[in-house]
């Protein structure tokens, strides 16, 4: 039974991958590129040690982002605001860490704490608006994303927190080396794997434990399945909204840290601001399951990185974005089709069993 369940949950992503590869091939042919050369180039470069290291690093970021989104999803809360939560979280961490001269473990812990608190507070606004004022979190988090970007640009461009970091780019003061978490190089000597890679594994396990092995996780999933039933059984749904949103925001606050503490050491105006949307897509692919999310994050990062040298074949690397979009849309449709098929086959099985019983009576 369990095997069958795993089988059916793998069918949808497999179909998604296949169809997206097929459509991509058609597009490649249409622009006059060689399909095999392109795929071979992606595979060859993508499996090189350097690319694999880059991929794991990027996957770490995506994993955290998708985890933040899926905490909300589990309770039918759509946190589109991961973008805003993580940019503010990363900025807070950058400001705090660049002003600290503490041993590594203390400095990094404080950065993490700062990022989580700021991310949670920013998400908390949406929670309050939803609970107290009945505002849909979908729209409030979108608005808060725009506001966060405005706040950041104000802080960096117009306050003394921002300085010239490099040519014409303003950012926060660089974090001292003692505050960085660069990580270790084990696949490729020149490309260390972020220290956050390991931290995010721990967070993933924590997520699984919290949702599947605690009372809170049970309440959360129950509210997500049926809010009214959960309320009847004594779950305080308003409290659940607060806790879920704060948790989601706290994890979201971490999304920028692997890159900040493992690479740039400064929050500048060039810091990426759209990893939150990637997280939504990956949470969908991974069906809110930590292992599924990890696989989705790796696939996504693989496509991002392996397309890096496609330009040598005369093909824009954006072909990977098309593949990602196709995968998401086909996979969500196939999940739905598979689910319907399962429901139908269960119904037929039940009907058969009942018919047998009646015949024997």
């Amino acid at each position: 039974m369990n095997l069958r369940r795993i089988g059916t949950s793998l069918i949808a992503p497999a179909i998604g991958l296949f169809i997206s590869l097929a459509v991509t091939a058609v597009i490649l042919v249409a622009i006059g590129a060689s399909v095999t050369t392109v795929f071979a180039s992606m595979w060859n470069y993508g499996t090189s040690p350097r690319a694999m290291s880059l991929m794991l690093n990027l996957a770490t970021i995506y994993f955290l982002s998708a985890l933040a989104v899926s905490i909300g999803f589990k309770m039918n809360l759509f946190n589109i605001g991961v973008n805003g939560q993580y940019v503010l979280g990363a900025l807070a961490a950058a400001v705090v860490a660049s002003n600290l001269a503490l041993p590594k473990i203390a400095s990094v812990s404080i950065s993490i704490l700062a990022a989580m608190i700021v991310g949670a507070l920013w998400a908390g606004i949406s929670a309050w608006l939803k609970v107290a004022r009945g505002v849909s979190e979908v729209i409030s988090t979108i608005m808060l994303n725009f506001i966060a970007i405005g706040i950041i640009s104000y802080i960096i461009v117009r306050t003394s927190i921002g300085t010239e970091t490099s040519l014409n780019v303003r950012g926060t003061k660089p974090i001292p080396e003692s505050g960085m978490l660069r990580g270790i190089a084990f696949l490729d000597p020149g490309t260390p794997i972020y220290g956050f890679f390991f931290i995010s594994i721990i967070i993933g396990i924590g997520y699984w434990f919290l949702l599947n092995r605690t009372r809170f996780g049970f309440d959360l999933r129950a509210t997500g399945k049926s809010a009214s039933a959960a309320r009847t059984s004594g779950v305080q749904s308003n409290r659940m909204i607060y806790v879920t949103m704060l948790l989601s925001g706290a994890v979201a606050g971490l999304v920028g840290l692997p890159y900040l503490l493992g690479d740039t050491g400064t929050y500048s105006l060039q810091f990426p601001t759209d990893w939150g949307f990637t997280g939504i897509a990956i949470a969908l692919l991974g069906r809110n399951n930590p292992i599924g999310i990890a696989l989705g994050a790796i696939l996504w990062a693989f496509l991002d990185i392996s397309s890096g040298q496609l330009i040598l074949e005369g093909v824009p690397r954006e072909i990977s974005t098309i593949m990602q979009g196709l995968i998401v849309i086909v996979v969500v449709i196939s999940y739905e089709v598979v689910r319907r098929y399962q429901v139908k086959s269960e119904q037929t099985n039940v009907a058969k069993a009942l018919a047998k019983q009646e015949a024997s009576v």
Binding site: S136, Y154, P316, E318, T321, G325, Y335, E336
Partner: protein, 404 residues
């Protein structure tokens, strides 16, 4: 338009101009109600308004369209590409068609397959972004005047109209600085200054939507698909067909909004939408899923954007702060009269804070204006969301024959 509605509209316009006029008088900043400002605000507001209108069509039929952004992106691309090849009107048509393709995709995923609508919309946003970036590189990189991230210039222009006989006397009346009269003149003249044919089309689409969706049997059926599709089905309404039509038309409108953007900047550029699809969605909610309120929301965004971008002496943003304070005081007053004490205190406090800010700072950074529309939207939603009424079955997947 019924008598009551037109009275309400005139009342709202009167109030808005009075507040603008008070602000203009105190700040002495004529830009706030000048002909040019209003004309430019219309240009900025129209694409957002079209996105909002697109949202109304989809959601009135019960399909949440968070893919508006993606459909708009497709529209900007279609307009840039076809406009460069065959001229501006081909661009408009291509923008609409590209948007429609996005809408069709959402309809297939959300209506036929019953995928969660927010998820399907998010996927469309992603796909549109990747596809347009990819195609831009393929099609525009080696084109003369194009680049990896932008198309060559769109050929030709959309006709614009300036009614000199109206604009000139009114503009000179505006410059006299008489309370209310001059502001009314400036605003009115702005409506007839460099008025793009696309803006007129936008206006007509709003009027058409009001009529079609609320005054015809077609509209009633379409809205019934968004309120209670099972009941509608039992009465013989072809729910799935209506949902398809609404969502595809929604895509067309969003695509037109995108085309408007590209044409206004004469090229397609990556990232030109800058989240306007989402903003359109916000104006739709802001406007209670109705054309009038949506248009008002879009105008607010367009107006604030304009003041921010034409701000020469850093005084426009300051003016906006005062305007915001005046509006907050007015709402606070209304709340007091309606005996909603807590809300009233909140608004009056906020208004006082902003008044204080206005008098204590000599100028404000443009970031304040950048975030102002979003904060306003949140404020409106926070105060009014209990009074907003989305379609009852908005976002609910529908399958014929399924039990509710």
């Amino acid at each position: 338009m019924t008598y009551l509605k037109s009275r309400r509209f005139i009342g709202a316009a009167f109030t808005a101009i009075t507040m603008l006029s008070i602000t203009r008088t105190i700040t002495g900043n004529g830009d706030l109600t000048s002909t040019v400002t209003i004309a430019q605000a219309l240009v900025f507001a129209s694409p957002i308004a079209l996105a909002g209108l697109a949202g109304i069509w989809a959601e009135r039929a019960g399909v949440i369209n968070i893919g508006l952004e993606g459909m708009m992106i497709l529209g900007t691309f279609g307009a840039g590409w076809a406009g460069w090849q065959w001229g501006v009107w081909a661009g408009v048509v291509a923008g609409v068609i590209f948007g429609a393709i996005g809408g069709l995709l959402l309809a297939v995923a959300a209506v036929t397959f019953g995928v969660d609508q927010i998820i399907a919309g998010t996927a469309i946003n992603l796909l549109a972004l990747g596809l347009t970036k990819f195609l831009a590189i393929v099609l525009f990189t080696n084109a003369p005047g194009g680049g990896q991230a932008q198309s060559p210039p769109i050929k030709g222009e959309i006709p614009t109209f300036t009614f000199e006989s109206i604009v000139e006397p009114l503009t000179s009346l505006h410059e006299k600085g008489i309370f209310f009269i001059s502001d009314l003149a400036g605003v009115f003249a702005g409506l007839f200054y460099h008025l793009s044919l696309l803006t007129i089309i936008t206006f007509l689409l709003f009027a058409m939507t009001s009529y079609l969706l609320w005054k015809t049997a077609f509209g009633l059926r379409l809205r019934s698909a968004g309120e209670n599709p099972w009941a509608a089905d039992s009465l013989g309404v072809k729910v799935v067909q209506f949902k398809y039509a609404a969502v595809v038309f929604s895509g067309m409108l969003a695509g037109l909004g995108g085309a408007y953007l590209s044409i206004a900047s004469t090229i397609y550029r990556n990232g030109n939408t800058a989240g306007r699809g989402f903003i359109g969605l916000a104006t739709m909610i802001f406007g209670d899923w109705r054309p009038g309120g949506t248009a008002a929301g879009a105008l607010m965004f367009g107006y604030i954007d304009t003041l921010r971008l034409i701000d020469t002496g850093n005084q426009n943003v300051k003016g906006l702060i005062l305007l915001g304070a005046i509006i907050l005081f007015a709402i606070g007053g209304i709340m007091l009269r309606r005996a909603r004490r807590n809300s009233a205190i909140g608004f009056l406090l906020l208004g006082s804070v902003m008044t204080g800010a206005y008098f204590s700072a000599s100028s404000f950074p443009p970031e304040v204006a950048q975030v102002a529309p979003y904060i306003t939207t949140l404020l409106v939603l926070a105060t009014a969301s209990q009074n907003l009424r989305p379609p009852a079955a908005d976002g609910v997947p529908y399958r014929k024959g399924d039990h509710h």
